[in-house]
Amino acid sequence: MNEKINELEKKQARFDKDRIAWRIGLNNFAKNLFSLSTIFAVVVLGILLYQIVAESIGWLDWKFLTSNLSIFPEKAGIKGAIIGTLFLMMIVIPVTLILGVSTAIYLEEYATEGKLQRLVKVNISNLASVPSVIFGLLGLTVFSRMLGLGSSILAGGLTMSLLVLPIVVVASQEALRAVPGFLREASFGMGADKWTTIWRVVLPVSIPGILTGAILAISRAIGETAPLVVLGIPTLIMKIPTGVMDDFTVMPIQIYYWTLDTVLTPEYAYLASATIVVLLLTLFMLNLVAIIIRNKFQKTF
C-alpha cells in the first residue's frame, strides 16, 4: 500500500516538474517572441534610414542645398524648399504659440469647471485626431478661397498652425499644471493680481515645458505634406519666395513630386532621398534641442 502511494507521489512529482518546465519554457518562448517584435521595429527603422542615406550619397552636397529647382536632376537643388520651409515657420511659430499658450492659460488658470471649459477641452482632443487632409480642405475653403489667399505662404502657414495647435495646447497645459501652488500663493501673498502672477511667476517657470511642446509642433509642421498638397501648391516653382503672399514649396512637397515623377525620370528618386535626409536631419536637430531644453532648464520643485 505504502509503496503504491510512494509510486503515485513520484509520478505526481515528475508530472509537476514537467508541467513547471513547460510553463517556464512557454514563458521564455513568449519573452523571445515579444522581444523579437520590438526588435523588428528597430530593424525596420534601420533599413529605412540605411536605404535613404545610401540613395542620397553622391547627390547630397552643398550645391544641392543652394541650387534652384531644375528639371535636370544633376542641376536641381532645394534652396527654394528650404526658404519656403523657413517662411512657413515664420507664420506657424508665432500663430501657434500665441493661440496655443493662450488657450492653455485659459484652461488652466482662468476657466472654472463647467460646460464652457469642457467644450474647449473635448474640442481640443477631437481636433487632435482629425486627419490632416481635412485641415487641407478647411484651408482650401476658408483661407485660399474665402479670404483669397490662394496657395500663398500665409494660407499654408495658417492651415498648418491650426493643425498643430492641439500639440502646443496640451504641452502648455501640462507645463502650467506642473507649476507648484506655493509659487502662485507666494505671489498672491505679495499683493500681485492674477495676471501679474501668471506673467511674472507662472509663465517664466513653465517656459521650458512650453518650448518643448512648441518644438514638437514645429517638427510636425515641417514634415506635414497632405494639407499643403490640398491647398494646391504648384508642382514646379522656380521662383524663390520673398514675402508671405508668394507661392512656395517646402521639403515634403518636393519629396512628394519627385517620388511621383520617378516613373519618368528615375534619378528623381535620388533627389527625393537627398531631400529626405535634409528633412530628417532638421527634425533630428529640433528634437535634440527639445531634449536639451527639457533636461537642462526644467526646474523641479
Binding site: 515579444f34 535613404i52 492659460i105 467644450l119 485626431s129 492674477k194 515634403p252 517620388t259
Partner: protein
C-alpha cells in the same frame, strides 16, 4: 507723497491699476481658446455646406455604387471603391500594427529591464516622429520592389505595400498607448500573481491584460482612426485606380488619396467634381470622428478603477 507707508502704497497701486488686467485678460484668453472651437465648427461647416451642393446634384443611389469616374464627360460618383480601398489598407495596417505593437508593449512593460527600455522607447519615438511622406517614399521605392520578388504579379502601385508600411508607422502608437494602459495596472496585482507562482507570461495574460483591456482596446481603435485618415503613404504607393476590387496586389484609391489627387489636379471651383471632394471629406471625417468617440467611450465605460 509719503513712500514709507505700505498701506498707502498698496492702495495707491490698486487705484492706479483699476484692475484693468484682471478684467480684460480673462476675456482675451477666452477668445483665444474659442478659436480652436471655431476651427472645429469651420471644418464641420465647410464639409457639410459643400457636401450639400454635391448631394443635391448627385443622387444618393449613385454615391453608393461602385462606379467612380469623376473626370469623364458623363461623370459618375460612386464612392464604394474609395471606401473599400480605405478599409482594405486599414485592415492590412492593423494586421501588422496590432500584433507587433501589442507584443512590443508587453515586452516593454513586463519583460524588458529598465535599462533596455530606456534604449528602446526613444527608438520607437523616432519611428513615430518620421514624417508620413518619408514612409510613402519607403513603401514605393523599397517595400514594393521587395514584395514584387515574393509576389511577381504585384503591381508597381498596390494596396499591400502601403498597408504594411502604414502598419509599421502605427506600431509605436499602439505600443506606447497599450504600454501606458498596462503600466497603470497596480503593482500589487502583478506582485500577487507572481507571488502565487505564475510566470510573467501567465501574469500578463491573466492579470495585466484583463485589467487594462479598456486602454488596449482604445489604443487599437485610435490606431484604426489614424490609418483611415493617413494620406501620403497611400497616395504615393497605392496609386489612383478607381476600380472596385478586393485584389490587394492591385492599385486602388483611398478616400484620402482621392482628395489629394483631385485638389492637386485642376478641378475648377464650382464643378460637381470639386464638391465631391467635400463629400468624400465628410465621409472620412465622420469615420474618424466615430472611431474617436468609440475610443473615448470604451476607455470611460470599461475602465477598471483600482
Amino acid at each position: 507723497m509719503e513712500k514709507n507707508n505700505v498701506r498707502e502704497i498698496i492702495q495707491n497701486n490698486i487705484r492706479k491699476k483699476n484692475h484693468f488686467s484682471d478684467k480684460v485678460m480673462p476675456k482675451f484668453f477666452l477668445v483665444m481658446a474659442f478659436i480652436s472651437v471655431i476651427t472645429t465648427f469651420g471644418i464641420v461647416y465647410t464639409l457639410i455646406f459643400d457636401s450639400i451642393k454635391f448631394f443635391s446634384q448627385v443622387p444618393i443611389r449613385e454615391v453608393f455604387s461602385t462606379n467612380l469616374n469623376p473626370l469623364s464627360k458623363t461623370p459618375s460618383f460612386g464612392f464604394l471603391p474609395l471606401i473599400n480601398a480605405t478599409f482594405l489598407t486599414t485592415i492590412i495596417a492593423m494586421l501588422v500594427a496590432v500584433p507587433i505593437g501589442m507584443a512590443a508593449a508587453i515586452y516593454l512593460s513586463q519583460f524588458a529591464s529598465s535599462k533596455l527600455r530606456k534604449v528602446l522607447k526613444p527608438i520607437l519615438e523616432v519611428l513615430a516622429g518620421i514624417p508620413t511622406i518619408v514612409y510613402g517614399f519607403f513603401a514605393y521605392s523599397f517595400v514594393t520592389p521587395l514584395l514584387m520578388k515574393l509576389i511577381p504579379s504585384l503591381g508597381a502601385k498596390n494596396a499591400l505595400s502601403p498597408g504594411i508600411v502604414m502598419g509599421i508607422m502605427i506600431i509605436p502608437m499602439v505600443a506606447s498607448l497599450s504600454e501606458d494602459a498596462m503600466n497603470a495596472v497596480p503593482e500589487i496585482m502583478k506582485d500577487g500573481a507572481l507571488g502565487l507562482g505564475s510566470t510573467k507570461l501567465e501574469t500578463t495574460l491573466k492579470v495585466i491584460i484583463p485589467a487594462s483591456i479598456s486602454g488596449i482596446a482604445a489604443s487599437i481603435v485610435l490606431a484604426i482612426s489614424r490609418a483611415i485618415g493617413e494620406t501620403m503613404i497611400v497616395t504615393i504607393a497605392s496609386g489612383s485606380s478607381k476600380n472596385f476590387t478586393f485584389d490587394i496586389t492591385q492599385s486602388m484609391q483611398t478616400m484620402t488619396a482621392y482628395i489629394v489627387e483631385f485638389t492637386s489636379g485642376d478641378a475648377g471651383s464650382g464643378t460637381v467634381g470639386y464638391y465631391s471632394l467635400y463629400a468624400v471629406g465628410l465621409i472620412l471625417f465622420t469615420f474618424t470622428l466615430l472611431m474617436n468617440l468609440i475610443a473615448q467611450y470604451i476607455s470611460r465605460k470599461y475602465r477598471e478603477e483600482y
